[in-house]
Symmetry: C2
Subunit: 277 residues, 2 copies
């Protein structure tokens, strides 16, 4: 089922700038037991993105009511929320009166085996690079050709994620995940001031670490440093956290910090306080 | 009127990846006396773009027939042609079987006064930068948030175009045009290997110059060099060529080479051979 501005629809106007130019933002939200998980955080990021793109953000209460209605009968699913600049004439110039379009759609939860969480996944490096663009970095906008080209680089079902670098060879993120690595007890992740998406699960993991007095260092890093890590894991709102056990020919063990964060995430989702065991 | 895969429609499926991710390409084509101008060149660029994005390009003959049918009663209009990767599931991974969507739509020709061609326009520098991305540079894809943010920077109707730089301060293009400048009889334009769109009118101007033994130098250049030019002009398929007579507080005269290229363009459009007068 899909709701477009509150009405059940399968289609969108061709003049919608989301279709014409990718002129909008989206959120991908886990649904469990009829509830969109971390919805408040997703709505906050959506608001930030709308401010960055000068799109008037639809009312959070309206979105929440529609989301709850759409999800109420789903025990496990994915809710996708799109907000575009709405319809407008031909040309890049935005209309004088912006009437945003909001689209909420429910999708099946992907059938990832539990081994991805428990034993980790295999990743590869992508040749497609992320462009540098401070005006778009961090937000989850609808211009996603880089990720599509990167994801089209492999078909091997044994490989679950592709790691993307920017044009300066800095490792930024996976095609659909954020990346963390652990080295000598410290945790590192890419800074996202020039490219990449600031994931909701990424921020939750940083908060879990912080509340346990572990600072996550956001910094630029390259392949050699990354491959010398003790533990590596990826995250997003749907998968939670997957350890990486192999990148190309290099193997990684699933370390204690990875396991502790997974434990905290599970507790956080079930409403308990998130402190490391 | 809009044709979606040959059928009259106003809407597109929400699952279309053009809407979900800007996963597609477009062409903006002048229509004169019922004919799409330089259609063969637009279809060639569309084919190149499809190859770059791994989208099977719809048959040129089918597009041509639909375009001619759509345009047949228009003395002056704009034809927009969109090709997307078609519908697909949630997620960046492209479907195993790609069934592209083609959309042809007819739009009013913008009411630009003739003074823009004759006396030139005023331009400004945009603060929004173009990201660097060799995998997407040159093609006219549907990820256009950079241009939208740049075009949203000004509302002054006296300013007709915004000049965009990349993150390294190299001047690349206008928000909707390519840029050329003339200095000491030589013609320069930005190289588009890292960002920007390789416009059809840009290539025609380069060919006109070449057939008159004037080489257009494609190279990186910055603001100071650009502002020291003798002549500056912008181009696209709808406007043809507009001289720039002012950028911020600096004035430019409309030089002889600009006028000669305009003359050749007019002759080319009316079917005559393009050699400088």
């Amino acid at each position: 089922m899909i709701l477009v501005n509150g009405e059940c629809k399968q289609h969108i106007e061709i003049s919608d700038r989301g279709f014409q130019y990718g002129d909008g933002l989206f959120e991908t939200i886990e649904v469990r037991n009829g509830q969109p998980v971390f919805l408040d955080r997703h709505l906050k990021r959506l608001n930030t993105g709308c401010r960055r793109l000068h799109i008037p953000c639809p009312d959070s209460e309206v979105i929440t009511a529609e989301a709850l209605d759409l999800c109420k009968d789903s025990s496990l699913a994915v809710l996708k929320l799109i907000v575009t600049r709405g319809s407008g004439g031909r040309g890049y110039r935005q209309p004088d009166l912006i009437q945003p379009t909001r689209v909420l759609s429910l999708h099946p939860y992907p059938d990832y085996p539990s081994s991805f969480v428990e034993q980790g996944i295999i990743a590869r490096f992508c040749t497609t690079r992320l462009g540098l663009n401070p005006s778009l970095a961090g937000i989850k906008h609808m211009n996603r050709l880089e990720q599509i080209l990167a994801r089209a680089e492999w078909n091997d079902p044994a490989i679950q994620e592709g790691i993307m670098m920017d044009v300066n060879d800095h490792i930024i993120e996976g095609t659909m995940t954020n990346l963390f690595y652990v080295k000598n007890g410290s945790v590192y992740t890419a800074s996202l001031s020039q490219s990449g998406i600031a994931g909701i699960m990424r921020s939750i993991i940083i908060e879990i670490l912080s509340s346990n007095h572990i600072k996550t260092v956001e910094k630029p890093f390259k392949k050699n440093e990354f491959l010398s890590a003790d533990e590596i894991f990826v995250s997003n709102s749907i998968i939670g956290l997957w350890p990486i056990n192999q990148i190309e020919n290099k193997h990684f063990s699933i370390g204690p910090l990875t396991r502790q964060i997974q434990f905290c995430l599970d507790r956080l989702k079930s409403g308990a306080e998130a402190s490391l065991p």
